[in-house]
Symmetry: D2
Subunit: 139 residues, 4 copies
């Protein structure tokens, strides 16, 4: 199991839809912020540095499974507890548990890869094995 | 099985991230647009009208499962083929298959509910059985 | 002159475009958050409460003038210093100065109104005179 | 005066805030899409091609002035009429007039530059003189 890192969000008026609840795509924005925040807190350099040093340009999502448990609205403070429960060869599971205080709001398990540019076509990406150094930093 | 409705998106520069691919939360924005567009194309009135006539304020997502197959970038035209493969009691499955021409880009199966405001607390929502009229329009 | 309230933003990967700088519409998202945050910090209740007590549903923008001075990118911490330099009859000027440390990044002067629903058509809004209580709280 | 190009937007549920009107930062998203769309319709290649051929990575905004005239909501179709009323040395004015049918909704005048990466620091940008070929294509 990895470290657990908390990413905190203040829900704002503009995050909410006419039903006055968070428009759900915003949860995926926050989850992606939480993902990056997790690596930064673990000491992994930002992606524009890892691009130079390890060839890694980011960790795109290949599979995402979410459950929405309770609605949230503006004024709420949400905490995303982020961890990596599983390293696979060229992919890993990143887990998010979103709470408002003690109340669970939503949860998400993603499969992400470490991506590098393809040599034959730099506009395309390919999965690479997770660098040992990154795994060590996150442990 | 329901109708299938196509929602078309032009990918723009601002939808893409520093890796020059669509920032994945944007797919969920488009999926939610495609969901509403599906009902509109089937002849279901907009939610601010159904709120008055049927008490229904929208169709929030309670479960979402996505696979990301290929990346997309600005200049691409994406088509979301949307359908409802399954009606359950107070929920339904809404399915999205996103293509660029013939290439699959991503796909998503959601469980959504028809939501009404709770009588005791209008800031909260509750699931209601899908109105027969809506099911008939979508068939 | 009013209070000055600071709203802090961590710039994330997904806020940036393929040129690896903040996609500028995100500045307007943050400005709107900063606007609400200003009123909350001054002690003004959230808009869904003022709708019941004063009829005010928010402070929509009617005019916005921005200068973009330096680019920002992910990893940056931005501070929006927000104030209300001028109250007019049914409108007011809200000012934002965005800094990264001591460096100015962008600035914006908006004219906003206090909006109420129109009696004849609740889907439309009308400007109302700023309540004295709100002006007092912000001073 | 330049060509005028129209960019059309369908307003969706998720573009609207709890006051059930378009959350105004979305107008700036659409304006940036309209800006790119203008150049594409005039025959200017996408920015990742101009980066290779002319060194130009995009047209960041340095000044933006908007007026919001009427609110819009989901179900509306908006048209952004885009033009370049003025070329200056290293900058130009891009103008947007947004209509719902014949009704003006908002308008915006921007100053944008043609940006290239700085040789000494590719993470920073600098303004370059508008290429004659681009000016000719837009005329």
């Amino acid at each position: 199991m990895s470290k657990e890192v908390i990413y905190t969000v203040q829900v704002e008026f503009g995050h909410c839809d006419p039903a006055r609840i968070v428009w759900f795509p915003n949860f995926f924005r926050w989850i992606d912020h939480a993902s990056r925040h997790f690596f930064i807190e673990c000491g992994v350099p930002p992606w524009h540095e890892t691009e130079k040093t390890m060839g890694i340009i980011g960790t795109p999502v290949v599979d995402s499974h979410s459950k929405f448990i309770r609605t949230a609205t503006y004024g709420d403070t949400l905490q995303f507890r982020t961890s990596i429960p599983e390293w696979r060869g060229k992919s890993f599971v990143q887990r998010y548990r979103c709470f408002r205080g003690e109340e669970p709001i939503m949860e998400c398990d993603e499969v992400r890869i470490f991506a590098a540019r393809r040599e034959d076509d730099p506009s395309q990406i390919r999965a690479v094995v997770a660098p040992e150094e990154i795994k060590r930093l996150c442990a």
